[in-house]
Symmetry: C2
Amino acid sequence: MSKMDSPRKSRRSFLAAGAGVAASVLAKPALAGAGNPANQPPNVPEWSKSLGEGVAVRPYGKPSKFEKEVIRRDVEWLTASRESSVSFTPLHELEGIITPNGLCFERHHGGIAEIDPADHRLMIHGLVERPLILTLDELKRYPRVNRIHFMECAANSGMEWRGAQLNGCQFTHGMIHCVQYTGVSLRTLLEEAGVKTNGKWLLVEGADAAAMDRSLPIEKALDDCIIAYKMNGEALYPEQGYPMRLVVPGWQGNLWVKWLRRIKVGDQPWHTREETSKYTDLLPNGKARRFTWSMDAKSVITSPSPQAPIKHGKGFTIVSGLAWSGNGKVKRVDVSLDGGRNWWPARLDGPVLDKALTRFYYEFDWNGEPLLLQSRVQDETGYVQPSKAELRKIRGVNSIYHNNGIQTWHVQANGEVENVEVA
Amino acid sequence: MSKMDSPRKSRRSFLAAGAGVAASVLAKPALAGAGNPANQPPNVPEWSKSLGEGVAVRPYGKPSKFEKEVIRRDVEWLTASRESSVSFTPLHELEGIITPNGLCFERHHGGIAEIDPADHRLMIHGLVERPLILTLDELKRYPRVNRIHFMECAANSGMEWRGAQLNGCQFTHGMIHCVQYTGVSLRTLLEEAGVKTNGKWLLVEGADAAAMDRSLPIEKALDDCIIAYKMNGEALYPEQGYPMRLVVPGWQGNLWVKWLRRIKVGDQPWHTREETSKYTDLLPNGKARRFTWSMDAKSVITSPSPQAPIKHGKGFTIVSGLAWSGNGKVKRVDVSLDGGRNWWPARLDGPVLDKALTRFYYEFDWNGEPLLLQSRVQDETGYVQPSKAELRKIRGVNSIYHNNGIQTWHVQANGEVENVEVA
């Protein structure tokens, strides 16, 4: 294709041309469909002839048995133990922007604290006028806010700094999820406690065996943070911090302390393990970036991808992906089929919300030749997602965190997809 | 209280006054907390001292064991069998606007068809140029749309026509849920099939043992209907129509055919069982309204409610509720504490989307005296939710469907709540 001709198929040609989706249907009488098993007339299977399971037999539903491969997965060699490890969201199987609670990725430092809410307390103390100790029921008495936000681990895509490593967007980009949180604005509680004028930092600490703790600047705490007790309407799942977690919109997941039990107000950061030996970014000159909280704009094509190859051969093809920015809303996404030489605008579909996942699509006629698929997001601040080469020029290859470089998928002629790097 | 004084507590007074949430904390040294078990300092429970369960031990997560009462429930006496029955969403336990897939209410006519997607086909035929038979994989090749919509059974609140019957919003209003759907615009498929000029109605039919079928006018089909295969990102749950269902935004749930297998285009409606002996509204004059598809604006207070009494006594109290309209967006919600004599504006929180649930809150200082709680929604068309008396004046009491009258909860001095009627 030439540089100037868009490979994108217009809606009109998609619907009118025989080269589209339903070529096989259009080419012969569809209702006869002989010889093409996919085009047989509807049969009358057993489920159309007998009563199925009744209502409330499953008081809490679950997916079909035919979806048993749609699960969180871990990578055994990645960590020494499963208690201090990560599992990944199956992004390649999902659509829209809401992640179901059962598929939200996990990251634990001491395993899942299985907390009895009746025995859980949240303490707010330090440089405050009125220290507070709150039960979950007491927390629920404060005014509530509801926000849809993505949550991304700073180490998402971290294995890719030195080149293509993991073969599947579940593993390269699956340390992210997006749900609707309900809880109390942290600002409300801090105003209730009365932060003293010298209170500039918060220590936020979990009740898990790792007692995960981080320092949070007061400006962010007073801006948009939430102490959440619901996700997608229901109580947090245990692995997401039941009965309460911190929500720090747009900032790295490590700050979103789960099983939150303590907030101490101080006048300087605590320099905890998780903000010194971890969650800092080693640069080529030997110095390290610190307190790199915000997650810059990023995107990934979720299908086609290594775990979701093209099975239908050439013809009308849908590229589906996710874009997000820790600094606001997604403004636009572009897609390249040739490793970044030409870019075509993608279509954003569904809600485009502040610091939330945004779904994009790019539809085109695939000619069956190999592709180098990429996506590139621009957020409302004007920031454009960089290439991995641009990122490495500044950050080197010693980092683990904050790899938001453009991802490349190599689609082969047979439709299989692999994780590659382009110069 | 006088007619003119708002009982609503300002943010300022909420935070400053001792009468608010944290009265007990403010009244004594919080960190000592002796004598008040709820205000003990954080203890060091077992979950803070030992490793918890690791990642991906549950590849698909589930709620905490302490949330085992947050489930769909049915009413045994309501129907003759569980296969043709209904279970209800536990609205009183939920927040925000997204319903988790596992808690979405069920309504089956022949039980849950447990379908192997490899053996499922969707046929589009009748007055079309090019009949289509599509597999799920073929359906996924058409351009995708993502929409968040409520889905309400026309019989929701149907037991309440003749007076207060069921004690709990799960049962009075729980035949509703709201998720993000992903699928194909029905318009896209109808354009692909080429509807003939005399094609004015669609018969939509399920693959369940009841072969549930309804007539749908072509105007709605070409407007905003979706053939959905995902809800909240993942595949539809079996009880919600896996592998595909019809989404008919704003219209009664009975039209949202699950396990969708057939769409036939015709020139007039089919007058099926579900639109003649059922889903018609018998009026006082003996005539019945038919094809009353759209769900008019409605609201309900989910907490406090009979299953969610006030346990904290008088003081700062949060009223939480849901509002929706089949005709567009929610414009405003008002709350009454005295059975509709005085109304105060509620606060809408979170996304306000077209034909979607909208969360509202009303916060006030409860003086401990009995309340008659009501909510009243106005949608963007200007339509105002009627009282039950206004509704009965026009529709009588022989209807089962489309009861969108204002709900009253009687809050007693002890905080218990019951379903009542006011004149």
